[in-house]
């Protein structure tokens, strides 16, 4: 859902950039606090991983493809604010080096994928995990739902921006975008749950959001398979 330049009215693109910039600025300040020694290497490799999976388009219905977003995955791994930074770095690299997503549209793309996708859905998942204290399976289900929601809400934001810009009538673009992204979101949900399942099995201590029965770091040592 990377919006290229030319699709959005200049004022809409500028208006979208304002909350995006504010969120990123705050995320940078929070990172000074939240970025503990353990998370420092994770920020770089999570960004690399999100970039990589965003290159992998998979076919969905009838001559259309989707690619993974990675926003929910980043949010569960690093927390919502650092995940917003991850998405921003990836989107900026994509726009500047690969002409994937526009430059004047970068604010809108960061808003849709970083703020709505990673930050808002991430905050929602954090609240839900804290309130519901899910076990492992429910946790992965929640992450899958969050992943699907991040894709859908990002598509919603994109549609609204296109509608307000006068590029396309909202009544035409909204159902079309939500329809195709509902399918893409399923792929996102499956891959997110699988990736988090793997991290849960290997290094549950590294997750910012985690299920109630995740083995804490100290207890992992010396336990046999399946810890």
């Amino acid at each position: 859902m990377h919006i290229p330049d030319g699709f959005l009215d200049g004022q809409v693109a500028a208006a979208a950039a304002v909350p995006a910039a504010a969120a990123v600025a705050y995320a940078l300040r929070r990172a000074e606090r939240d970025l503990d020694e353990r998370r420092v290497p994770l920020l770089g490799v999570t960004s690399a991983f999100v970039f990589a999976v965003q290159m992998l388009n998979f076919p969905v219905a009838g001559g259309t493809s989707g690619h993974l977003l990675g926003a929910a995955l980043a949010a569960v791994l690093l927390g919502p604010w650092l995940a917003c930074l991850v998405m921003t770095v990836v989107l900026a690299a994509q726009a500047l080096a690969f002409a994937d997503g526009g430059v004047t549209a970068l604010g809108a793309n960061v808003l849709n994928m970083g703020v709505i996708g990673a930050l808002t859905v991430g905050l929602g998942m954090a609240v839900a995990v804290r309130a519901l204290r899910p076990g492992r399976t429910a946790f992965l289900g929640m992450a899958a739902a969050g992943a699907w929601l991040a894709v859908m809400l990002g598509a919603l934001g994109t549609s609204v921006e296109l509608g307000i810009s006068g590029t396309a009538p909202l009544g035409a673009v909204l159902p079309a975008m939500l329809g195709v992204h509902a399918l893409i979101g399923v792929g996102e949900a499956v891959v997110t749950a699988a990736a988090l399942g793997a991290v849960l099995a290997a290094r549950p201590d590294l997750l910012a959001l985690r299920p109630r029965d995740a083995a804490p770091a100290a207890a992992r040592v010396g336990i046999g398979a399946g810890a």
Binding site: H2, D5, F7, R38, G44, N57, S65, L96, L162, A176
Partner: protein, 105 residues
């Protein structure tokens, strides 16, 4: 957990990312993505413009320059791009860490 084992995990994730980007991106579906498809169907696809900055983008549409074969060019973009994004994000993390206020718990 100690720094060394977190680095080991991070190295695995990075290696996986590079492998995916290099190995699978040439096989990725060439069909238009969701937005492109909607743009084509609804009729606003022609409005797309390329920003001046992007006209000198090194690898537009993930085609690494100087490589004839399209799939190889994509694979190389995957390799270089993944490592470049890692470098940028890791550099950012190091800068942010250095600015942490001392004596934070």
């Amino acid at each position: 957990m100690d720094r060394r084992s977190t680095r080991a995990f991070a190295a695995v994730v990075l290696a996986l990312a590079v492998a995916l980007a290099m190995g699978l991106s040439p096989l990725a579906s060439p069909s238009p993505d969701g937005l492109e498809r909607v743009a084509a169907d609804t009729g606003f696809a022609a409005g797309e413009r390329t920003h001046a900055v992007q006209r000198s983008a090194p690898a537009p549409d993930y085609a690494f320059p100087g490589i004839g074969d399209a799939r190889l060019a994509t694979a190389v973009s995957g390799f270089v791009g993944t490592l470049a994004v890692f470098a940028a994000a890791h550099g950012l993390a190091l800068v942010l860490r250095r600015r942490r206020r001392p004596a934070s718990p």
